[in-house]
Amino acid sequence: MTEILLSVKNLKKYFPVKQGFLIKRTVAEIKAVDDVSFDIEKGKTFALVGESGCGKTTVARTVLKLTNPTEGQIFFENTDISKFGYSELLPFRRKMQIVFQDPMSSLNPRMTIGQIVTEPMIFHKVARTKQEAYDRAKSLMEMVGLKAFHLDRYPHQFSGGQRQRIAIARAIAIEPEFLILDEPTSSLDVSVQAQIINLFLDFQERFRFSYLFISHNLGLVRFISHTVGIMYLGKIVELGETDEVFEEPLHPYSMALLSATPIPDPKVERSRQRIILKGGVPSPISRPSGCFFNPRCPYKMEICEKVYPEFRKVSENRWVACHLVK
């Protein structure tokens, strides 16, 4: 039996684009997230990948209700939290956490690491006393490869990768059932990355944690995720089991994206064929008509300029939005 922890239905998040010197007028809209739907099973990892600016972080922030959705539903354990206010959300907050892409901006520079890591434990009453929280913080530091004495220092005294691990320690401190990891290991070298990723896997095995994993590192995405959604300009264009999508991508954008990843071996790397996409990166402010990918698509047909393809189920575990795919 599969158990769905999070179900996102037709999620939209639009931002106004304002211009003008004194009187700011809304001149356009950025459809950062535009009709996105996906499910995350309990104990499983769903990955979101796609070009910079395609809306991944906005999906994450909206799902956690750090910003309100423009439209759509967010079911967490079968409860629609999309319209909940602060107090209704509180019991859910304890179950979901996020590790942000840019750790420096999410760590309060005036707090010590000890305060940063213990605060959520005390707020959510996971630890009964300050001492208990502090003891847990010590073991959390070890888990992420840092030391207990680091708790007395301030964020600016750490390296980029160390700060990222502090953000991870804070997020896992309250043992959330659902954890959003937005480029959680982007500043980590491969060896520490392996340690952290293995830690996430341990939590998943032991406590059935579910993850929404956002990363540009496709090697890592393949390794850690069970299902994957490929995003392009605010929409998911392909969704399926990770292994299947990586072995046989169906959407032309997925094909290009997967072929562009460098392979860490100069011999293989410098002799390999890649699909390099033509055309400039499109803008989410004025998206092309029809399929958004059509100006860069090597298989473009007439219909692609006119109609946005329906996102439909094409096989047991695969959804694709492309006119080509039967």
Binding site: V17, Q19, A28, G50, E51, S52, G53, T57, T58, Q101, D102, P103, M104, S105, F149, R153, H156, Q157, F158, S159, G160, G161, Q162, R163, D182, E183, S186, S187, L188, D189, V190, S191, V192, Q193, A194, Q195, N198, H216, N217, L218, G219, L220, R222, F223, L257, L258, A260, T261, P262, I263, P264, P266, K267, E269, L277, V281, P282, S283, I285, S286
Partner: protein, 335 residues
């Protein structure tokens, strides 16, 4: 013989904290040549960023360069006045920071910030500078830069912020660009585009790049030479092909094993056993010995030097020949 544009010798940078002395950088040597890319790799916390902050002399008040020299254009940057240093920063040597929000000011639009950088170092008026800013944003792959230029950092995606900062660093055509994890928040397509842009500037006017990254794929593709750092020290220094085909330091060898790959199926990621040593209490002898499968008694008490073991290949290890044997064995096992 080519002359290096930047020569770092025996650099040591320490932080004098309440808990003791943090030896963040403790013996780093490398050369950077015009038009070339030097890669710096190594574990989180090994001193890569502090090395670059030392070159620009932007350490926080507790940090000090205690030994060594950093020679740029025949002057030792560790010796010159703060005022002379200010003229070099951003103009001759520019930096792309690991975390964009450190470099970007949240209360100004990205356009205002790039314009300020341009006007500071070049003789152009603001209108021209603004045009240049838009142009740069286009070059780093930001769509509709005319609109984006008036946005605040928080209105951009993580990768766009990173590119805005790259645009700012490139705005004055520096002689040396220090790029600290420049493409971590970027997808591979844009990553390739940014690296291509940097290479183009390299070809056009010989900009040199110091590329700090933990992504061995990016190193494989872009670096000419590579320094591998461990616990504040350079442990291996050679050209990129040799590093991948013939690593000689046990740490480098382990590092190359820990990479997740798209082209191979794996169930668990390899990681080098043990943890990164505490910079307040480094182990005696070779800093890597507690984690090294080849270590002997000698490694516990004596510190090896960074030595040339074959032509142009520097290694800080007494027993690098053991790695050779292990490599041969591994190659044999595969067959």
């Amino acid at each position: 013989m080519k002359e290096p544009i930047l020569s770092v010798r025996n650099l040591r940078t320490y932080f004098y904290t309440e808990d003791g002395i943090v030896k963040a950088v403790d013996g780093v040597d490398f050369d950077v040549f015009q038009g070339e890319t030097l890669g710096i790799v190594g574990e989180s916390g090994c001193g890569k960023s502090v090395t670059s902050l030392s070159i620009l002399r932007i350490l926080d008040e507790k940090g000090r360069i205690v030994e060594g020299s950093i020679v740029f254009d025949n002057v030792d940057l560790t010796k010159i006045s703060e005022e002379s240093m200010r003229k070099i920063r951003g103009k001759d040597i520019a930096m792309i920071f690991q975390e964009p929000m450190v470099a970007l000011n949240p209360v100004f639009t990205i356009g205002e910030q790039i314009v300020e950088a341009i006007v500071l170092h070049q003789k152009v008026d603001e209108t021209t500078a603004k045009k240049m800013a838009v142009d740069l944003l286009r070059k780093v792959g930001i769509p509709e830069p005319e609109k984006r230029v008036d946005e605040y950092p928080h209105e951009l995606s993580g990768g766009m912020r990173q590119r805005a900062m790259i645009a700012m660093a490139l705005s004055c055509k520096p002689k040396i660009l220090i790029a600290d994890e420049p493409t971590t928040a970027l997808d591979v397509t844009i990553q390739a585009q940014i690296m291509e842009l940097m290479k183009q500037l390299q070809r056009e006017y010989g900009m040199a790049i110091i590329l700090i990254t933990h992504d061995m794929g990016v190193i494989a593709e872009n670096a000419d030479r590579v320094v591998v750092m461990y616990a504040g020290k350079a442990v291996e220094y050679t050209d990129v092909k040799t590093l991948f085909n013939d690593p000689k330091h046990p740490y480098t060898w382990g590092l190359l094993h820990a990479i997740p790959r798209l082209d191979i199926e794996q169930t668990r990621l390899y990681n080098i056993p043990g943890i990164v040593p505490n910079p307040l209490k480094f182990p005696t002898g070779c800093k890597f010995h507690p984690r090294c499968e080849f270590a002997e008694e000698k490694c516990k008490s004596e510190e090896p030097e960074l030595k040339e073991v074959v032509n142009g290949h520097l290694v800080r290890c007494f027993f690098w020949e053991k790695v050779e044997q292990a490599k041969k064995k591994e190659a044999g096992d595969k067959q």
